[in-house]
Every structure is written in C-alpha cells, then in structure tokens.
Symmetry: C2
Subunit: 331 residues, 2 copies
C-alpha cells in the first residue's frame, strides 16, 4: 500500500507492507485524512509516533470504509463507512485501528471531507463538553477562531445553544467566523511593542459577555492564558489545548480563587486506548448527529492527493488556510 512517509525531515509517498488487523481491530480503506499541526512537528522530527502506530506514517485522523475486520469485531463489517482519530498512520491507502476508535459516518456525507472532521471536532467536543461541561446560554471564548479546532468549536458551541466570542490576528477570518454563527469577533489588540494587550482583550471579552466567559478554549497559550483568567466569569472553566504562543504563562492565583475558576490541561494524543474509545463514543453520540443533520459541517480549505503531501503540509504551515487541508489516496 502507498502512504505518506517521513524521510529525513520531508514527506513523500512510499510503498509499505499491507497491515493486517489483529483482535479488536479493523482495516480501513482511507478516503480522506486531514493534515494537522502535529504532522508538521513529526515531519520536522519533533513528534515521535506513539507505540502501536507506524513509526514513519503521519496522519492523526481518517475517514474511509472498512476493508477487513479482526477477531472479535462484530459491530463493524466490511463496507461500513467510519471515521476517527488515530495516534498516527492516517495518511495512507490502508490503516489498521481499533474498532472502538471508529465512529460510523452517516449516509450522504462526503467521505473525503469527513477525513478532516475527527481531530478538530473530537478535540473541541472533548474540551467544551466532556471537560468544561458547557451548557446552553453560556458564553464561550475561542482563541484562534479561524483554526481547525476554532471553527469546530464555534459550530459545536452554537449548535448547543451557547454564545461565542472569538479572537484572531486576521480580520478576514472573523468574517468567515460570522458565517458559522460567531456572536462577536475580536482582532486581538496589541501593545506598542506588538505583544498581546492582555488588559484590553480581557476588558472587551468581559464587556461583550456581560460578566466574563464561562468556558474558554485556549488554543494559543502564553500570555493568552493570563487574559483568559482576567476575562473569565465566576466559576469559569478554561481548557488549555494549545501552546503556539508559548508554554509558560503568569497565573493570577488570587483571581483564580476568588472567581473559583477551573483550569484544565488536555492533550488527546497521549491518552490511553480506553480513554480514546470513550472520547470516540462521546463524539459519535453528540457530534455525529449534528453532522448528519447539517447543523455543523467540516470546513475544508483544500483537498490534495497523497502525492501532493508536501504542498499540503506547507499550506498548513503557512497559517494562511481557513479550515482543513485533506489528503486523499484516491483523488
């Protein structure tokens, strides 16, 4: 089978032996596999594949049809359309994964575009619902609102009856956010030396929300975390999902106590197989029906054949995309 392969800091398509599904596993003929930032790190040699996944085939999500089933799998059969998150190996013609890491794709959905759904929607749903317990009527603050997780979070939060204030450094991304239902967009204010203006950002969020954000999806990190605490409502929940702007922040301990905030760190890839199965089940239960009804939809910037992986990776690295870049083995 052909698969995107990391070779000396670049990606190219190479032949690999066809993998066989073991007990509790399925083999999927992949129709679409999104490119994520972690793939860029893996290409650069900084993100070793976890145990049990191919060492040199990147790809953290997939959609496709079941091609073969291993022993003990009785709820999925050959031909069933599925999608899910994997620890690696998604950008390939064929992929072996655990049956309980697959969610069924409803009829009528585009099986290429669905390959860009699981990573961002599982991450956003896990953070907003499973971790933060978002409820209807609450305000959600989403940074990097034009990113894959950002656009997924806006759609999910709106579908749940919440209201969303989003931030971005690019005004154009706010317009697209509005199409997804974003209630209020903020182009992040900066100080004279170009740093994030923490006070101004927090003040605008508090003003728009009338008392602060109940749930914050923190995709940027660094000084944004300080703004999150300053912008949070009483009993607000802040979920730390990304650290593009830096792995350290100042924490206002007294405000965190006075507002009784909860700050949750999360990371999907390092979880146990059982925990990933639970996140997949929650995604299948809460998110897939919204995809089926059209309440939420994948935002796709570009679909490229596997052989154009380098172009796809460079597009994601450029930060100029809006939505997912998806590789497909059968264009």
């Amino acid at each position: 089978m052909r698969a995107v392969t990391v070779v000396d800091g670049r990606v190219e398509v190479r032949e690999h032996p066809t993998p066989e599904p073991g007990a509790g596993e399925v083999r999927v003929r992949v129709t679409g596999a999104g490119i994520n930032r972690a793939d860029l790190l893996q290409r650069a040699g900084f993100y070793p594949a976890p145990p049990g996944t191919p060492a040199d085939i990147p790809g953290l999500e997939f959609a496709g049809t079941i091609d073969a089933v291993g022993a003990g799998v009785d709820d999925l059969a050959v031909g069933v359309a599925v999608f899910g998150v994997v620890g690696g190996g998604g950008q390939s013609e064929l992929l072996v994964t655990r049956a309980d890491h697959c969610a069924r794709v409803p009829d009528g959905l585009d099986l290429v575009a669905m390959g860009g759904v699981p990573e961002t929607f599982v991450t956003a749903h896990d953070a907003l619902v499973t971790i933060a317990g978002l409820t209807a009527g609450e305000w959600v603050l989403v940074h990097a609102v034009g990113s894959g997780v950002g656009t997924s979070a806006v759609q999910l939060a709106k579908a749940m009856g919440a209201r969303v204030v989003g931030t971005t450094r690019t005004a154009a991304k706010l317009e697209r956010g509005s199409e997804l239902g974003l209630d209020h967009g903020i182009v992040v204010p900066t100080t004279s030396d170009g740093a994030l203006d923490i006070g101004a950002l927090a003040a605008e969020v508090r003003d728009v929300t009338g008392g602060g954000a109940h749930v914050t999806l923190e995709l940027v990190g660094g000084a944004y975390v300080e703004a999150d605490v300053a912008a949070a409502a009483m009993r607000g929940r802040i979920v730390l999902v990304g650290t593009l702007a830096g792995g350290r922040a100042q924490l206002d301990v007294l405000s965190t106590m006075q507002r009784r905030l909860a700050i949750h760190g999360t990371m999907l890839r390092s979880r146990s197989a059982t925990e990933k199965a639970a996140a997949t089940a929650a995604f299948a239960r809460d998110v897939v029906p919204l995809l089926a009804s059209g309440s939420i939809k994948p935002i796709v910037d570009k679909v490229l054949p596997l052989s154009n992986a380098t172009q796809g990776y460079d597009l994601v690295a450029s930060d100029a995309t809006y939505g997912k870049v998806i590789l497909t083995p059968s264009p």
Copy 2:
C-alpha cells in the same frame, strides 16, 4: 449579648443587641468559635464582612446549642447541638445563622473544641473530596501541613485511605503531623537566597509518591504553585485555597496539558447561601461521622475566653501555634 468587636484595628468585647432569627434561621448560644486568618485581616480593616452578617463581629465558625428557631425551621429544635461556618459573627455569645448552614454535633464531643472544626474541615473536605474527587490509594500533597486546614486535610485524607506527603517550614510541625498519620514530611528546601527551591521540592514529592501527587492542597500560593505542577501525577488535581506566599505564580502550560492537570481555585466565604448549604450537607454526610467515631479530631492549641480575644488573635498571627485557637463565651 457580648461579642468580640472590631474597633479601630483592634478587637474588644462589647455589648450588642440580641439578634432575632428570621424565617429559615436559628439562634445559637455559642460554646466555641475558632479564630482564623481572615479574622486577622478583618481586625486590620482588610476583610469587610459580607452582606447579611454583623459588620463588626468577626468569627467564621461556631459550635453551640440552638437557643431559638425562626419560622419554617422544623428539623432543628431548641437545645440541639450544632456547628457550622458563617460569613462572620461567630465570636459572640449568640449568633443567628441559616438552619441549613448548621450540622448536628454528635453526642459525646467537646462543644468548645467543636467550635474550631467547621472552617478547616469544611474547607479541606470541599477541596479534597468535592472539588478534587480524592479516592483511596491516591497521594495527597499538603503544604503548610501544620496549619488548621493542613492538619484537617491530613486526617481526612488518611481516613479516606489516601496517602499524604506534607510540607512545612518548621521541622517540629512534621513530628506532630506524623502523629496524625502523615506518610512523609518535607521541610521545604530553599535556594541560597532563601526562596523556595521549586525543583528540589518537586523532585522529592515525585520520588516519595513514585510518580507525583494526585491531589494537591495549595495553601501557600506563589512559587509553591509552580512546584505543584512540577510535582503532579498524570491527571493530577491542584486546588488553590490560600495565597500567603503571593497571589501570582508562573504556570507551565505545556506540562499542565501533557499531564492533563486540573487547577481549581476555591474560596468558601464568597459563596452563595445555597452553595454553603451544600458544603455543610457534604460536611455532615462525610466528615461528622468520622468525628463521631474518633477517626478524626480537632487539633486545639489554646482555648481562651472572649475577653482574651486580642491574645488569641496575636497567637494566630505569630504562626507559632499548632492547631486552632478557640474563643469561648463561657470558660
């Protein structure tokens, strides 16, 4: 009635009108009322009493017997022994509070000493159990282990089957901690300039616990919070309860994500009446039976008459006490 009264930065006993219980309230004839650090702040003018409590009578906890009941109170009658947390007014001969902020004191317990139980045990139980979800077999890290909340937390954690590592700046307090069941005590390591040695503290906690603390009760704040993150186990929960060492800290966002930590800020005094009733009910359900059986006990340093309030406050301020200083109207 006589009550400790804040007058121009000092405390003295003064006469006050006898308060009458309203609907849902009871009047308690106080037998004991612990002194807490917040009382020192109130004496100094920095901790205004919340609405609904006497403006100038300090005291955040009490034990006593019901002296009168207001309309609609049918589960408590005159003569019943109760204790609880109040927003203020505890250090008095008589106190009016909500009936659902009272827990019954089991027979046979010392009603003076019980006046020093609620604030620390409700705080420790709420933090360890309600917020952090402590379970048997887990490791708890308790800073300021000789403090009122610290000794309460050690006893509660041990009674629940958890293991405890405690820190203090005073070696003598560790010996007493051992008598309460402390599994391992650490005199906090300092750098050459006297600051907390964050790395050394975290390394010792990780070593003792074999992988990090599952639950951390943070009573000190400041740089200790950084040590908490470095010392936490996977999926560890850190509860921020105090800020004696400073209201700001450095947060390692990446470690918080990688270990999927939860950092909870909490404060008892600012909660709504309904939330305080819930905390009281949890205390009555989980903690009071342990007091009745003798599994946990109040640690009392000194009992003083109301008229010696100044001596009591100065004792608490000295940081030389081990356990509670309790004022009693009827010595």
